[in-house]
């Protein structure tokens, strides 16, 4: 029965209110008000009628179509006068040197048509071809449009002549007054000479820095070393990361205020107390090669590396035995080690050195091995002279001086005069400084009391900054004299006694800048070019005068370095006061309270001076945390749970601490001495409980590159509450302190939770290997030395196979789904070998790959969505206490409290049975008869089937037009007119909607083959390098032709350590990994005291 019930829309309808009726009728007007529109008298006045409009429309469509058909006109401008050495399309390489006060390395600069586009290490020179990510990314900073482009006076553009006149007048006026020049450590003899010349002009005849060791400048000192006198300028050297403690300790221990030359290759046992010598400590680019040399187990021996540290550092992650300690315990570890050695050697023990059981156990073990081995090295990262004094005595007792430590040929870097700069800040604020020239340093940003420096700067009568950027200091100086980038400059270096380096320009100046040294010379009234000036210096000192100068100069320039005969090294007698040091250590440890914060250097950021604004470095995942584009507080997972107010257990560690795309972390405020900053919390296994770590280099407040700042989802700048562009992270330098005249990098802090979520962009969300031993194979040296790989650590995979009614185990290699691709033994078969033993995980290969292959920068928001474009990644795995068999998978997901770390570089595996190739509907990815898995971008239609089918997840999809979309306009250098110049012209810039992946640098393969063909010879071993193999500081990555038995890679592929990743899948990769061998005996699990998680430790048998 149908209902006749009627519902009204309202009382208006019921009452049939006339207004309602009208409105109801016109609710859906049936007639369009055409007449009304056409009757509009104004319509006739419009200039565009309907027909005209249609005509225009038709015409423009046709015109656009026709225009699209026309041949595009491409202009081509040849040289007017072609330089002889330039052939368009052929790269030139120039030897140069990188030094920024923190890193030193001999480099080779690749230029194309006069543009530097790639930097790799130079095998000539003591750094032996090693560079890190910071150095190889420095080529991008050359093209940073945020560099200062013109000389400035009071924030306005000025002329060089005007600026020079003003500064010279000021110098003249204050002759005899306090004229100070603040620089980073000057290791350049010619720069030192220029400063001396300026000083001489100012009435002095001194080489200013009294703290400078007599031997610093090698030859130059012998030649002209006038006696110190009054007047002149006061030269203070200051490094953001100071190592003054080592020099002071050596002064009291051996009477030489130097940083000795360390040789890690001569050490069978290495003990490092908080020294991150693989990432940034002193001459890290030399140490990294020396260290790797002894990490290859092939001859049955490996160095044994003990590390005691608070945060999980890059060096610590490579250690054989690592113990987490608080920073305040560094001294105690040194004392304990000292006492163990002293007891054995019959020396006097000192008081202190109380440690937790498992640390003490490790120290005892280290002591035992140090005493037993033939050559060792103990180093400490602390900047406390007391700790260094104890370490000196340990090394002296072990007889390391004259072997792994050389006091006679000291290192000249890191001459930071911490007391001098502390005094300078006081003098400035007292109005005592008349002229201040700041060169190569950024004290407002990097001093513990940078704000005081800034305040003092305004009281200086004339302040001058020589700087690449209008950074925190330079922007506040009256005069800003823009410096050349090092790739535009000449320079010479004397990094250690008897070793010299040369830097030469690889491009003409991009802006109206002037090399700092030329500025100094100009003010000294010397108009010589700095190039001629260096030659003069070298003629006088380094190479010596004589007819052959030009020859030896040219040779040195070609090599980028020059080695003089070294002084003979010898032992040293320790005269230091260890018991005094012990009481100092006790005092320092007592002063530390609360949560101990360590400010540290990340592998990508370093000290942050010239790195924060570099998008390649921002996007480089941190080797340990795998976080990009961010600064965070590293904290032990247990501490994080406590901070969150949660129970500390494995379940919570697994779930509450999981950080992913949609799983944010929380923020915390850290307060040290009344200064506080708020940063996200990042649970970092291996971090000592009760300590936190904060990286340096973030929290900028000046124009230091666009990538130093935050951008929103559509690329708009994120602003803070004051409307300023918000910087990434926070500046941790204010947490450092002047303690006893040295800058210290740890402090007592309080940490409070800020209940606000924070999204972090990380490239790895899963942290343990979960028993997948076909991804990562590792063993111990003992097992390895039995050479029974097939049965123990590197067994071949087998499959159950039914044959004649029985089940047999058949090796994977015998089972093929497809017909084999004919690359074995025929023609070329390109491949890589990756030695997991020498891979230290530093990430230099990743940035090298980015530079070589025009990999776009995608920014934090995209990385968080797992859309990073890196062709290469380094997977980092933590060990877990749980075993799959006993504890199950869930438990195995939780990393240990103090895990062992393994790094697995991942790139396209170039499978001979590639799963990606078979699923491509348009055959955009195919196999070459040289074993390469090729990718034709212009054929790709972006179905992403290949990415889904790749077992290694190494394929990347171009979600956006990174070269044009506004989201990336400030972070992707390819969108900048200047930044675009860094692109490699031999590699195409991929468009949106296509897949891309590692091509094994096919452009280099093709170029190398062509060279060989032209020369009519076979390809030499090592002649062709991929970006990653060229960029690897430890030579862990080897490229070559697997079919050529003369090549190293063929040897590697046959090695017993060699394995293919995911061999059981049967994809037959051309990339070989070499199993990781740890120098330790069998591991047993040990239950730790109450409250501590279980800890793996070594059977001490």
């Amino acid at each position: 029965m149908g209902s006749t019930k009627k519902y009204w829309k309202g009382l208006e309808e019921l009452h049939e209110n006339p207004e309602f009726v009208k409105a109801a009728q016109s609710e859906f007007p049936e007639e369009l008000p055409v007449d009304e529109f056409l009757a509009d008298s104004k319509l006739g006045e419009t200039s565009t009628g309907r027909r005209d409009f249609l005509k225009f429309l038709g015409f423009s469509v046709t015109a656009a179509t026709l225009a699209a058909c026309e041949a595009p006109v491409v202009k081509s401008i040849p040289y007017v006068n072609k330089p002889e050495e330039v052939t368009p399309g052929v790269a030139n390489w120039y030897a140069s040197t990188y030094y920024d006060g923190n890193d030193y390395a001999s480099v080779l600069v690749k230029t194309r048509e006069g543009r530097p586009i790639f930097i790799k290490g130079n095998k000539i020179g003591f750094t032996n071809g090693a560079v890190n990510a910071r150095i190889n990314s420095s080529v991008l900073s050359l093209y940073d449009s945020q560099r200062v482009q013109e000389p400035m006076k009071g924030g306005a553009v000025a002329s060089w002549a005007g600026v020079d006149a003003d500064i010279m007048a000021a110098l003249e006026k204050h002759k005899g007054g306090n004229v100070t020049i603040l620089t980073n450590t000057i290791i350049s003899p010619s720069t030192q000479r220029a400063i001396d010349e300026l000083s001489a002009k100012m009435g002095g005849s001194i080489v200013s820095n009294e703290e400078m060791p007599a031997d610093t400048l090698g030859g130059i000192m012998e030649m002209e070393m006038p006696a110190p006198s009054e007047g002149g300028i006061n030269h203070i050297q200051y490094d953001a990361i100071s190592n003054s403690g080592i020099r002071k300790a050596n002064k009291s221990s051996f009477g030489q205020e130097v940083i000795p030359n360390y040789d890690f290759s001569k050490a069978e046992v290495i003990v490092s107390i908080g020294a991150d010598f693989l990432a940034h400590w002193l001459m890290s680019m030399e140490y990294v090669g020396q260290y790797a040399q002894n990490r290859r187990p092939e001859n049955g021996k490996m160095s044994r590396h003990f590390q005691f540290e608070s945060i999980m550092s890059l060096t610590g992650s490579n250690a054989d035995i690592r113990r987490a300690i608080k920073p305040s315990e560094e001294g105690a570890v040194a004392i304990s080690l000292h006492n163990h050695i002293a007891k054995a050697k019959g020396g006097t023990t000192i008081s202190g050195g109380q440690l937790e059981g498992h640390v003490e156990e490790a120290v005892a073990m280290a002591a035992k091995e140090l005493l037993a081995c033939n050559g060792s090295l103990v180093v400490a990262g602390s900047n406390s002279p007391a700790v260094q004094t104890v370490v000196n005595n340990i090394n002296a007792m072990l007889g390391n001086y004259g072997k792994s430590i050389d006091l006679n040929n000291p290192v000249n870097i890191k001459q930071s005069n911490d007391e001098g700069v502390e005094q300078l800040v006081k003098d400035m604020n007292a109005g005592k400084v008349d002229v201040l020239i700041v060169y190569g340093v950024n004290p407002v940003y990097s001093l513990p009391n940078g704000d005081e420096f800034a305040a003092g700067l305004s009281k200086v009568k004339t302040s001058v900054a020589i700087s690449l950027y209008a950074d925190e200091t330079a922007s506040k100086a009256t005069y800003l004299c823009p410096d050349n980038h090092y790739l535009e400059s000449w320079n010479d270096y004397n990094p250690k006694a008897g070793s010299y380096g040369l830097a030469q320009p690889a491009i003409s100046k991009l802006f109206n800048t002037r090399q700092g040294q030329e500025s100094l010379l100009a003010w000294a009234g010397n108009s010589t070019s700095y190039h001629a000036y260096i030659q003069e210096t070298w003629q006088q000192t380094v190479l010596g005068a004589g007819g052959l100068f030009t020859d030896s100069w040219n040779k040195s320039l070609h090599n980028g370095s020059y080695e003089m005969p070294k002084a003979t090294t010898g032992g040293a007698t320790f005269n230091g006061d260890v018991s005094g040091a012990a009481s100092e250590i006790a005092k320092m440890a007592g002063a530390m309270s609360g949560t101990e914060v360590v400010v540290y250097q990340k592998a990508g950021m370093g000290d942050g001076m010239n790195t924060t604004g570099n998008p390649w470095l921002q996007e480089l995942p941190d080797p340990i945390s795998k976080v990009t584009w961010d600064n965070y507080i590293t904290m032990s997972p247990a501490d994080v749970l406590e901070l969150y107010g949660m129970e500390v257990n494995d379940d919570n560690k697994r779930t509450a601490l999981y950080i992913g795309e949609q799983n944010p972390t929380k923020q915390a405020t850290v307060t040290v001495n009344g200064k506080s900053l708020t940063l996200p919390v990042y649970p970092s296994p291996g971090q000592k409980r009760g300590t936190i770590g904060i990286a340096l280099g973030y929290g900028r407040s000046a124009k230091v590159g666009k990538a130093a700042y935050e951008y929103g989802e559509y690329g708009d700048p994120v602003t803070d509450e004051n409307g300023n562009h918000k910087s990434i992270g926070a500046n941790a330098y204010p947490f450092t302190s002047f303690t006893g005249g040295n800058i210290m990098y740890c402090a007592g802090a309080s940490v409070t939770l800020v209940d606000e979520v924070y999204y972090i962009a990380t490239t790895q969300t899963h942290h343990t290997i979960m028993g997948r031993d076909s991804v990562l194979r590792e063993t111990t040296l003992g097992v390895y030395n039995e050479h029974n790989a097939a049965n123990t650590y590197n067994p071949p995979h087998t499959l159950k196979y039914h044959e004649n009614g029985t089940t047999v185990d058949k090796p994977i290699s015998e089972i093929d789904l497809w017909e084999a691709h004919p690359v074995e033994n025929v023609g070329h078969r390109w491949g890589l070998s990756v030695d997991l033993n020498t891979c230290i995980g530093c990430g230099a290969c990743v940035t090298a790959c980015v530079a070589e292959n025009n990999v776009p920068v995608v920014g934090k928001d995209e990385v968080r969505r797992a859309r990073e474009m890196h062709w290469m990644r380094i997977d980092r795995y933590y060990s877990s206490d749980a075993s799959i068999d006993e504890d199950g998978y869930l438990a195995a997901e939780v990393p240990s409290e103090n895990p062992e770390v393994a790094f697995v570089p991942m790139m396209c595996q170039h499978c001979n049975h590639a799963p990606c190739e078979t699923v491509c509907p348009v055959a955009a990815t195919t196999h070459s008869n040289e074993g390469l898995n090729m990718m034709a971008y212009n054929r790709c239609i972006g179905t992403r089937y290949c990415a889904n089918n790749c077992p290694f997840k190494v394929r990347r999809f171009n979600w956006f037009n990174y070269m044009g979309y506004r989201k990336f306009s400030d972070i992707n250098p390819a969108q900048d007119e200047l930044g675009r110049m860094v692109l490699n012209p031999d590699v195409v810039v991929r468009a949106r909607g296509v897949m891309e992946k590692c091509s094994l640098c096919v452009q280099s393969i093709q170029a190398g083959k062509l060279e060989a063909k032209k020369a009519g010879r076979k390809i030499k071993d090592g002649e062709i390098q991929t970006a990653c193999s060229a960029g690897c500081p430890t030579n862990a990555i080897t490229f070559g032709d697997l079919n050529d038995n003369d090549m190293t890679i063929a040897e590697h592929a046959d090695d017993e350590r060699a394995y293919n990743m995911l061999q059981e899948v049967g994809v037959q990769p051309n990339i070989y990994y070499m199993a990781k061998v740890r120098n330790k005996k069998e591991v047993k699990k040990k239950v730790m005291p109450e409250g501590e998680a279980t800890e793996t430790t070594e059977e001490n048998a």
Binding site: S76, I77, P78, A924, T926, A936, K1014, G1016
Partner: protein, 444 residues
């Protein structure tokens, strides 16, 4: 020892007359002394690299009126043979002009008095009848394609006229029919529109109309297909250039090797447009051409900053902005040295007979195929089909290669006899078989 000495002197004795003869024939001319034609020869051989016949300055002064400038003919002879002797005489004019240019005149110059007389005769007689400047020959562009291009329009007009006639005819026919029907007393055929009539006609001639429509559709589709195929094909592309450079004059008439100017073709990926300093290797002396006279060459001087009058570089340079002719898309990697140096491919395989061309153009494949010795191809020039066609045919000497690289590769092939047999089934190794068809050989 004695014997040795003897033999040597004997050899010398034989050699001397030969030497004298050579000198005689080499440096003197047996043509009559006053012959300007002979003078031109001697001039070209000995003087032309530094002097001009006119009064124009080159490296040395122009020779026109040289006799009047010198105080005596004898001194001029001395000067030409060895200017140092002339200076040694202490003559003020000789002393004055020895500082004419920073570069010294060659001395001595082996010319006889008769030669000098011939040269002077040539200078006086200049220009000889065959040296009178030719009027520039304008190159006539062929307009043949235009005719083909407009033909369809005439067909269209014809079609429209035909339609008008057809419709008028129908109308006339109806009127006639109606008149007939009226006469017969029948109802007149109702006046229907042309479209209605057409519809009716089409309905009645379904088969014909269907065939017609099918032809139209297929034709349209084919046309679209060919249009699409033509996108990105730039055969015959010949943009205007800032300097009307004639390949015909340089590579054709003067037989200059291609790689003299395009030198990086042997070294790198680009063949390269020569930089102006390369032009100046010859055009330092040649400031006039036969086709366009001075105008085009003057553009080189302007670019490189060369003052012809003063014969000096001013230092004010202005690069020449050329229009690139052979453009490959960004995603294609092509390397000239791979083809020119390693492959030994003649330039004309891809660029045709440039020695007959003016400014460069993309040679259509049909013209390339006419070149002797070229591999005959089907696809249009500079398309991928064109590249791989050639790669499929071109052979690489792998067996008994003279190139160590290929020799090594061949040795490796020998390891797998079966595969080798497969590749060598026709006893030839083509570029394709060595991977010349693989994507990553050109796309990366």
């Amino acid at each position: 020892m004695n014997a040795d000495c003897n033999r040597n002197s004997k050899r010398f004795a034989l050699f001397t007359p030969f030497l004298i003869l050579t000198l005689f024939f080499g440096f003197t001319s047996d043509l009559s002394a006053q012959d300007p034609e002979a003078g031109r020869k001697v001039f070209k051989a000995n003087c032309a690299s530094c002097h001009k016949v006119t009064d124009e300055k080159f490296i040395g002064p122009g020779l026109a009126g040289v006799q009047d400038r010198w105080p005596s003919k004898e001194l001029l002879y001395t000067w030409i043979k060895n200017w140092k002797d002339a200076v040694a005489t202490g003559d003020p004019y000789a002393i004055q002009i020895q500082d004419y240019d920073a570069s010294e005149m060659t001395a001595p110059i082996a010319v006889s008095d008769a030669d000098i007389d011939a040269i002077l005769a040539y200078v006086d007689a200049y220009p000889l009848p065959d040296e009178v400047a030719k009027a520039p020959v304008a190159e006539v562009a062929t307009e043949g394609e235009e005719d083909a291009g407009t033909a369809w329009m005439w067909w269209l007009v014809l079609g429209v006229v035909f339609l008008i006639i057809a419709f008028s005819a129908t109308s006339v026919r109806r009127h006639l029919q109606n008149a007939d029907r009226e006469a017969q007393g029948l109802e007149p055929i109702p006046d229907e529109s042309y479209f209605a009539a057409l519809g009716k006609w089409m309905w009645e001639n379904k088969a014909l109309v269907s065939v017609f429509v099918i032809i139209l559709l297929v034709g349209g589709a084919l046309d679209t297909w060919y249009t699409l195929k033509g996108i990105g094909v730039y055969e015959g592309y010949q943009p205007g250039q800032p300097i009307e450079f004639s390949h015909k004059v340089h590579a054709g008439e003067n037989e200059i090797n291609c790689v003299y100017c395009h030198s990086s073709a042997e070294k790198g990926r680009h063949a390269g447009i020569p930089s102006t300093n390369v032009c100046m290797n010859c055009h330092r002396g040649i400031s006039e051409g036969t086709m366009t006279g001075k105008t085009e060459i003057a553009k080189i001087y302007e670019a490189v900053g060369f003052d012809v009058k003063e014969q000096k570089y001013t230092g004010e340079t202005k690069p020449v902005v050329w229009n690139k002719v052979h453009n490959l898309p960004d995603h294609v990697y092509f390397n000239h040295s791979q083809h020119v140096d390693v492959g030994g491919i003649d330039c004309k395989q891809c660029h045709g007979t440039m020695e007959e061309e003016g400014v460069a153009r993309i040679m259509p494949v049909a013209e390339l195929n006419e070149v002797d010795g070229n591999v005959k191809l089907i696809n249009p020039t500079l398309t991928m089909g064109w590249c791989i066609e050639c790669h499929a045919e071109k052979q690489v000497q792998v067996v008994n290669a003279k190139n160590g690289y290929y020799e090594d590769i061949h040795k490796r092939f020998m390891k797998d006899k079966e595969l080798l047999k497969k590749i060598l089934d026709d006893d030839q190794v083509t570029v394709k078989e060595l991977g010349g068809w693989e994507c990553a050989k050109c796309h990366y």
